[in-house]
Amino acid sequence: MKNIGTLLLAAVTALLVTAGGASASSGGTFVFCAPYGGDLFSLDMHKTSRTQDYIVGLNINRSLYKWDADQSKPVLALATDVKISADRKVYTFSLRNNVKFHNGRTMTADDVIWSYNRIAQPETSSSAASYIANIEGADAVMTGKTKTISGLKKIDDFTLEMTLKHPVDIGYALCKVEAAIVPREAIEGREAEFSINPVGCGPFKFVKWVRGSEVILEKFDGYFEAGKPYIDKLVYKIMPEGAARDIAFRSGELDANIVGASQYPIYLRDPQIKDNMIEVAEMYTRLIGFNSEFKPFADLRVRKAINHAINAELIIRKLLKNKAVLATGFLPTSSPAYDTAMKGYEYNLTKAKALMKEAGYADGFTFECIATANKSWGVGIVEALIPFLKRINITIKPQQLEGAALGERCRTGKFDAFIWSNESGPDPLETLNRYRSTTPRSAGNYTAYANPKYDKALDMAATAKTPAEKLEWVKKANRILFEDAPFWFFNYNKAIIAYQPWVKGIKPVAIEMMLQDFTNVTIDDSSPRK
């Protein structure tokens, strides 16, 4: 009896503590921003391919895996366990049995299969198609030969078997919000409606989208993680202008704000903000791509000379106000395959001059570099290179283009050089596949880089028996890419979010800082919206 009494007391105490803790951090409205390029286009994650849409969609939806920002790797989300076969080609998922869609229905293996089939249909034109392309039979659906992916098998309502073509870590692909699991009944026959009034199984349900102004979400009480999310309402203000966001943040209207290069040094000096910033080296590598068909760039010594001739560290310090991490190769510091032994091309003018002389270009040459107006990887950076390259008798001529025009020129190879920010994660193998000799310019290998040794290293990584072995081959490929210097390796974006003192739980999301999952975010009572 005494034991029962003690147990009861302990249970009540625990309950009170939990309830007390929850009330201190639960509730309130969080106002965030959607800063990229204007209004949202669609909240149908299978059909949109814009980061701006994903920022919001991430909190409405859930995928089979999710990105764990702390561990910087994908982890299971809609499944509790996965058994992987010895050949790493068959994944058997034990799905959670308590996942509910916002329409109240429980998610089952049928929903996962239906969602992936939808992504694969040619008429969906989904940018997530490449993420599920490695599932056996997905190609046949993508090319319109069949309607269902043969590699997906329902064992029972909550068990799913997935067969892959190659032994890859499928979590990297399936953690993307583009591969969200959605309810069939909310989409069939009402596709257009779904894109502006979505139904998912994420922590927040959709309430309203004021076009061009804001999107409002509210806590989904049936979310599968008990007691979460903590905040009641999540508002995304569509604010493409950095200066306007800065003012809204300073006036307390925004609870968190993405920090631009011009604001970064000011925020660092501000005693009220400097301690409330979180930063990460994002998986985007800023670089200048050298067209391999432009004669001087066909010579490795010239490409290396350019890398040695530029003091990238100085440009980062002076122009980017240190809001970037100096690149030491293609894969960024936040990549699981980042090679700490790689130190980057040292700034060494003597070496650069010697290489130019050796290549027969002691008198230099002139080339044009196409660039956008972007402050961190645009025409301003190209202009900063002029004096550096002049010292090795190279004249670089910046030509400013708008994003769409630059993309077209890159895809068709109509350039000498371009400056851009290229995705360099999260899956290092998948990222490096972009530069295989078989990848055409139209699929992102803009410089038409080709090296059989590089291809071979990637092949070895793809068929490696263990994750450690795979990582070694990926690192090797990354070193080959660095040695071949098809790029001037500039920097990795240092993404920063500044938040109000009442905010807790903002994470350093290396795949894209703005992809904040608000399941665990809390705001305390000092918030004006609580």
Binding site: S42, R50, S127, E214, A404
Partner: protein, 309 residues
Amino acid sequence: MRAYAFRRILQFIPTILIISVIMFVLLNLLPGNAALMAGDQRKAPDPRVVEQLKKEWGIDKPIHTRYFIYLKGLVQGDLGTSFLRREPVNKLVGERIWPTLRLSFAALFISVAIGIPLGFISALKRGSLIDTASMVAAVSGVSLPQFWLGLLMMYLFSVVLGWLPSSGYGNGNFVNLIMPAFTLGIGYTALLARATRAAVLEVLHKDYIRTARAKGLSEIMVNWRHVMRNTMVLVLTTAGLQFGALIGQTVIVEKLFSWPGLGSLLVDSIFQRDIPVTQGCILVMILVFLIVNLVVDLLYSVVDPRIEY
């Protein structure tokens, strides 16, 4: 007057047709396309998806075929379907037109309410301190870049004083309208003040003003019955013409204040090469411009009975 209005409306048709051809050709000649812009430019594009989208949106067809498809829809009042949003352009434009008109008319109201009296008083008190001060303010108002002015107002009224929300539509609340409307209206106010002043000064030297004074009318009556009415035709011309420019300037103000209007929709669609939406926005803006000018023309006969149609 009805016959005149009808004739003017008929003239809209060739105007819109000519504009639609120019616009269609120019937009389709721009490098880059929506299929490429559909994705995050930093990621490797999937050529299969790009080709599928081109086919789905019909941008793989020759330009003349595309124009006739567009024209066929236009005749039926269908502006097409947005490439990237996959929604009818009529719906998208319909949702955005009211916030833009609301903002533009609020700016117009501010400008008329401040600019015309200011110009009038300046002219009547020519050379006085009021005249000098108001014209200095007017020149400053015309010269101020809207973007900068908007940011200054945001800083003052949101950060320092905390009186107004810095941006957003806020369910159409009046407080959200104040700053964008002033930002948009300041330059227009200054312009109207200067135009009114010039018009009043011109009228003040006319013989009929001297006659009115000579026959013993009070100064108030002279100003109200003779100066004001004769000035209004000139002021209306300026106001009508500049209203079109005001609609165009909403692009900057809407972007800055996250205002869900036609201007911000237009900018987004241009950068994303969403041609049907761009065409829809431009056409609607032109239509608003044409209608406002027609209304101004018709108003001439109301303010000046000597004008007949």
